[in-house]
């Protein structure tokens, strides 16, 4: 399909006829970017969200180590689960400026922030976390 009035040339993989130089680039360079579904920009308008730490299905009752992984309750150097879920705004402040939520000491907040960074789709809090990751 070609329609010059579009301002964008649509074609189907045809090679240009003139001889041009093609740089193949360094092995580590990236040449493919896939567009992924986006909700982040609108999340503030559609969702009043919160993140349980940890997510019940990931293992409620377990402690959170400094690197954010879950460890058995009582592990030395790890922090107990939070009694209440964190509000979106608290998480944003914690991730962006390291500000600890009310009633949480700053080292524990670091561990909780790391836990949140490791959240994956399918776990409680992931949608909320994804929505808070604003570029800039």
């Amino acid at each position: 399909m070609t329609d010059k009035s579009d301002g964008i040339d649509e074609e189907s993989g045809a090679l240009p006829s003139r001889r041009v130089v093609l740089a193949l680039g360094a092995a580590a360079a990236s040449t493919v970017v896939t567009i992924r579904p986006a909700l982040a920009q609108t999340a503030g308008s559609v969702l009043n969200c919160e993140i349980p730490v940890p997510a019940p299905q990931a293992g409620a009752g377990q402690f959170i180590a400094a690197d954010g992984t879950l460890v058995p309750a009582g592990t030395a150097g790890a922090y107990p689960p939070l009694a209440r879920p964190l509000k979106g705004e608290e998480v944003r402040a914690m991730l962006n400026s390291g500000r600890a939520p009310a009633g949480v000491d700053s080292q524990a907040a670091q561990a909780y922030a790391n836990y949140i960074r490791r959240l994956q789709a399918g776990m409680s809090g992931f949608t909320c976390y994804a929505s808070l990751q604003m570029p800039r």
């Binding site: 567009i35 579904p37 308008s45 969702l47 009043n48 969200c49 809090g125 604003m134």
Partner: protein, 286 residues
């Protein structure tokens, strides 16, 4: 449900049901003068208690409906109007498949549309509302609807949610157009503004898009304009769209045509007077 309200906004209609009277009463006041949907409603929103006793005891409003997201937290009943607004936004973000949905404000002049898009805090809501009071027709502050076949911008003039300081900028607004002051919301202290009579009366009239702007607000920024190439515009708009991927090839066709035919610029501004001057200048060239 015990209380309900139906609302037509541009080409989209909502049915909102509530277990409490207050949110529906607030909606009726805010959307006074809007047409009643004819026949079927596109989306159902439900405002209901998270647990049944929470209907009376420290009542909190869970936002539910045709489409829901995990991790959603309820809002206190005093913010029921905001819950209804979020509920409608949620249905649009997840369920709208008839238009390419862009997180953008839009206004119209002489049948041509201007689109303002950017992250929250970029000021698109405020700018959209401001232009809507200064001779442009307000088409929406939250979502712009791009027709998949016709390539037109379709109006979606919902109430605008404004922070108190933004409200001051508009000046001389008829108090009858304002909703209640909502404090302590996730967005701070806000108030809703009903679009003016022209915006409501012409909600059925689409506009041909003419210019895309990516505004950026910062008190320390010098006013500036930068060209945005079609590639960057495409990328940024896919990130501003909740349904681009879901629409498949029709979304690809609509968006490549859109960024291919329209000029796009990024503008920096430190106050709304600067923004207005920049927009007027760019509009004259577009």
């Amino acid at each position: 449900m015990r209380h309900d309200f139906r609302l037509q906004v541009g080409p989209v209609s909502f049915r909102i049901g509530s277990q409490w009277r207050q949110p529906v009463a607030a909606l009726r006041r805010l959307y006074a003068g809007y047409p009643e949907p004819e026949g079927v409603c596109d989306f159902t929103v439900r405002l209901e208690a998270e647990r049944f006793w929470r209907r009376w005891l420290r009542p909190s409003v869970a936002i539910r409906g045709d489409y829901v997201l995990p991790d959603a937290a309820p809002l206190p009943l005093a913010q029921g109007l905001l819950a209804a607004e979020m509920g409608m936004n949620l249905q649009m973000a997840l369920g709208q498949k008839r238009f390419l949905l862009l997180h953008a404000a839009s206004v119209e002049r002489d049948g041509r549309g201007l689109l303002l898009t950017g992250h929250s805090g970029a000021g698109k809501s405020t700018l959209g509302a401001l232009l809507g009071e200064r001779g442009w027709r307000f088409m929406g502050d939250e979502f712009a609807l791009l027709g998949l076949e016709d390539g037109l911008l379709h109006p979606f003039p919902r109430a605008v949610s404004l922070k108190n300081e933004s409200l001051g900028l508009l000046g001389g607004i008829d108090p009858g157009r304002l909703g209640p002051v909502l404090t302590g919301t996730p967005k701070g202290r806000i108030r809703h503004l009903r679009p003016n009579a022209e915006a409501v009366a012409r909600m059925g009239e689409p506009a041909r898009p003419a210019l895309i702007l990516f505004p950026r607000f910062g008190r320390d920024l010098d006013p500036a304009v930068r060209e945005v190439g079609a590639a960057e515009a495409f990328m940024r708009l896919t990130q501003a769209s909740t349904n681009y991927v879901a629409l498949g090839e029709s979304g690809f066709g609509a968006l490549t045509r859109f960024v291919g035919t329209l000029p796009s610029k990024a503008i920096d501004y430190a106050d709304t007077a600067q923004a207005e001057a920049l927009i007027d200048g760019l509009w004259a060239e577009a």
